[in-house]
């Protein structure tokens, strides 16, 4: 089933808090894992990488290995590494600031090849944080409520196709494109064929989840000159299956729905923000007053 949502503020503000409230209201749609794609201030002089290391006990060694691979690619840390301070956790969620003059795919591949490393995002602005459990659990462990920014996405997952773990949680990063993320409710039925076509173009996938495929597909179309809206519209014809997805870039959030509009989506706008979600119930957590809402039908594309 899954629940997805997004929020875009007119002025930077507490997007983490807003998204946690929304995902809490959608908990009944899935609590296997919950994740957030958060857009903070743009930092031209660095990229922020979000990683998960499977073995917290070996984190010192792992960070040295990570730095060594980064240096081999001509990069360096642009700030001290940080990680969650959860007691008794076996894994660690790491936030790195690195110099921007790197080949992101080369570094990502090298880090994954170290073993026990998942790379969740790269971005000048984007940070993806996802973990198993419901919104409250993830928010507490990762301090999501304290995150300020311009816009973001949230996802609560009811796993149907792939396993319940952090790697298969949403949002997905459009590896290797910095600052592109997706949350998706649905199922892509021409996944393998579409994936092979993208792999032939040199893309590498971090999971076998169909949502990751959509994000790379869209980013690739934009790389080849399509606008954000054109790429979203193109995907409706090119991807088979039922889907409603929200894709975010630094400029904002886009929505695309399949040709039969099987999955719901609703939005509302006030003078301070635009909010969109699978259910109106989530919107009412952020916009408490009765406001006009808009819902979307088949093959619709919207850019916020």
């Amino acid at each position: 089933m899954c629940g997805i949502g997004g929020v875009k503020l007119t002025q930077p503000g507490p997007i983490g808090q807003e998204l946690v409230q929304m995902m809490t209201a959608l908990r009944h749609r899935g609590a296997d894992s919950t994740g957030f794609a958060l857009y903070g201030p743009w930092r031209e002089d660095r990229l922020i990488a979000r990683l998960r290391a499977a073995e917290r006990e070996k984190l010192d060694v792992t960070l040295n290995e990570i730095e060594a691979e980064l240096q081999k690619a001509g990069g360096q840390f642009a700030g001290p590494p940080a990680w969650d301070k959860t007691e008794r956790a076996k894994d660690a969620f790491v936030r790195l600031e690195v110099s921007p003059n790197i080949d992101v795919e080369r570094v990502t591949s090298a880090w994954i090849a170290l073993g026990g490393i998942e790379v969740h995002s790269f971005g000048h602005s984007l940070e993806i944080v996802k973990d198993v459990g419901d919104a409250q659990t993830v928010a507490v462990r990762h301090g999501i409520r304290e995150f300020n920014g311009t816009h973001g996405l949230g996802h609560c997952r009811l796993a149907t196709e792939t396993e319940v773990d952090v790697a298969h949680g949403h949002p997905f990063w459009a590896r290797p494109f910095p600052d592109v993320a997706i949350v998706h409710n649905g199922q892509i039925t021409n996944y393998y064929k579409s994936r092979r076509l993208l792999e032939q173009d040199g893309y590498h996938f971090s999971s076998d989840n169909d949502s990751e495929l959509i994000s790379v597909f869209i980013a690739d179309r934009m790389k080849h000159g399509q606008t954000f809206e054109e790429a979203l519209r193109y995907s409706i014809g090119a991807l088979d299956g039922v889907f409603t997805y929200l894709l975010s870039i630094p400029a904002g959030i886009g929505l695309a729905k399949d040709r039969l509009a099987i999955k719901p989506m609703i939005s509302a706008t006030s003078d301070k923000l635009t909010v969109m979600a699978t259910e109106e119930q989530a919107i009412r957590q952020v916009l408490r007053e009765e406001v006009e809402t808009a819902s979307y039908g088949q093959s619709e594309v919207v850019i916020w």
Partner: protein, 234 residues
Amino acid sequence: MVEELDLEQIGEKELNTRLQALVNGGHKAILRNPRARHNIAVNISGSLEIEVQGSAGFYCCGFMNGPTVTVAGYVGWYAADNMLGGKLIVLKDAGSNLAPSMIGGAVLVRGSAGSRAGYGLKGGTVVVCGDAGMLTGQQMLGGRIVLLGKVGGQTGESMCGGAIFYRRGALAGMGNNVRARSLKAAEVESLAVLFAEGDIQADPNEFECLEPKPGKQKSQPFKSELVAREEAFS
């Protein structure tokens, strides 16, 4: 007696238990702060007036039999799911799959409805004053759907009973196994009564009707696009 229930204070199960306790006593229930909560008035049987002061979420009035429910805001997907009797009045829009498999009673949406309104409808009346999405009345078995605005494609797909009334020229497309016809005199009269009761400004003479084609159905709603394996991977 008017009883006010604040949905900020009580959960869905308690709400419906308390609504059920109020039936058949000439009461009215006012639901404050609904904030699009799901399952409002599900499975309530008996006479009761319910006023929802905001939006209702999914499954509003599902399996309901008897009450008259007025929702001041929107309703989410699957409103009046399998409803047996009573009335649901929505002052704004309804989400997709309005009144699926509804058995009896009446649904009146003042705004628009999403896709697949009246999916598998078995009885009763569904009225949408605004626009309706694609596949309205898909696989309906009985009852009637009355559409006052624009209507999406594949309307009445594979229906085998009942009737869909719409304004002449308002249909984007018909589904398989249906045919359009003019209204009979009794149907014009029946629509006139319905419009008068619902305070709807419309002339029944502007309407026509979709009904199932007689005989065995030849249904192929989604044409398969199978291709040879070699071709698929070339």
